[in-house]
């Protein structure tokens, strides 16, 4: 890894790898989304006004969707793909 780093071209941006900081934020964000989703869903049940009910339902769906978007970033499959890609590109640059 260290060797690669010295030999390869400079990276113009960080590789698609989850850093420790990313993970901490992702964990936080997923718990916010989960809570927001639960809250919106439970309010949707309690509300009297159908318009507000619908809005809450919609919000619950949005938060669930966001949760899933974030979850994808920590999925093993994504990690494998990212690592594979990273190794490919660093091999390429060292071979050249």
């Amino acid at each position: 890894m260290n060797q690669n780093y010295q030999q390869q071209q400079r990276m113009s941006e960080p590789p698609s790898i989850i850093t420790n900081k990313d993970l901490l934020y992702l964990e936080d964000a997923m718990s916010w989304e989960l809570l927001a989703c639960k809250k919106a869903a439970s309010y949707a049940n309690e509300c009297q006004d159908p318009q507000i009910q619908q809005r809450c339902d919609q919000m619950a769906q949005m938060h669930q969707h966001h949760y899933q978007m974030l979850l994808k970033h920590v999925a093993p499959q994504t990690q494998q793909e990212n690592l594979y890609q990273y190794n490919q590109t660093s091999n390429q640059t060292t071979n050249n």
Binding site: D28, W32, A36, K39, A40, Y43, C47, D49, I52
Partner: protein
């Protein structure tokens, strides 16, 4: 605008506070404890006073569904306010997350979530306005024009003499 959207402010009906200076007479009323009917009454008096002063209040009339509810239990308006506060909390935090995210695909996703959450807040605000839970106060055209004059004059301080500012033609031309 931002302050008007604050959940807390509407929850406590403190948006009236901003108009304090203009309404010395009603000052005492403004610190009445939370009570729906009194609030509605205050609204009406404020409105009529305002019309006399000639400034414009932008507001939908309330549907009246909520004034019946007086107990400690949450009503629909409380729920919407709470959701609004939640969404605001989320955008604040996603703002930081987006700034700190490492690689591009993560950054892009976080930004997308951030902007969708903002849109949701806008939708919530519009819904609450539609329900008559937000009162906006139009600034007098005189005050607005005065600000325009003042900040037009400040333009001499810019390094570039270009009047258009940040446009398609490129702001780096010199």
């Amino acid at each position: 605008m931002q302050r008007d959207q604050s959940g807390q402010r509407t929850a406590n009906e403190t948006h009236i506070k901003g108009q304090q200076q203009e309404y010395q007479q009603s000052r005492q009323q403004q610190y009445y404890p939370y009570h729906n009917e009194q609030q509605q009454f205050k609204h009406q008096t404020q409105q009529s006073q305002q019309q006399q002063n000639g400034s414009m209040q932008i507001k939908n009339s309330q549907t009246g569904q909520l004034s019946r509810v007086k107990g400690p239990e949450m009503n629909d308006r409380d729920r919407l306010n709470d959701m609004l506060a939640t969404e605001k909390y989320l955008t604040d935090n996603y703002n930081v997350f987006a700034r700190e995210a490492s690689h591009r695909s993560l950054y892009q996703d976080v930004q997308q979530i951030h902007s969708q959450t903002h849109q949701e807040i806008r939708g919530l605000f519009n819904l609450m306005f539609e329900k008559g839970w937000y009162t906006l106060q139009a600034e007098s055209t005189q005050q607005v024009s005065q600000a325009h004059q003042q900040f037009s004059d400040y333009q001499t301080q810019f390094a570039s003499s270009q009047q258009q500012g940040y446009g398609q033609q490129g702001y780096r031309q010199s």
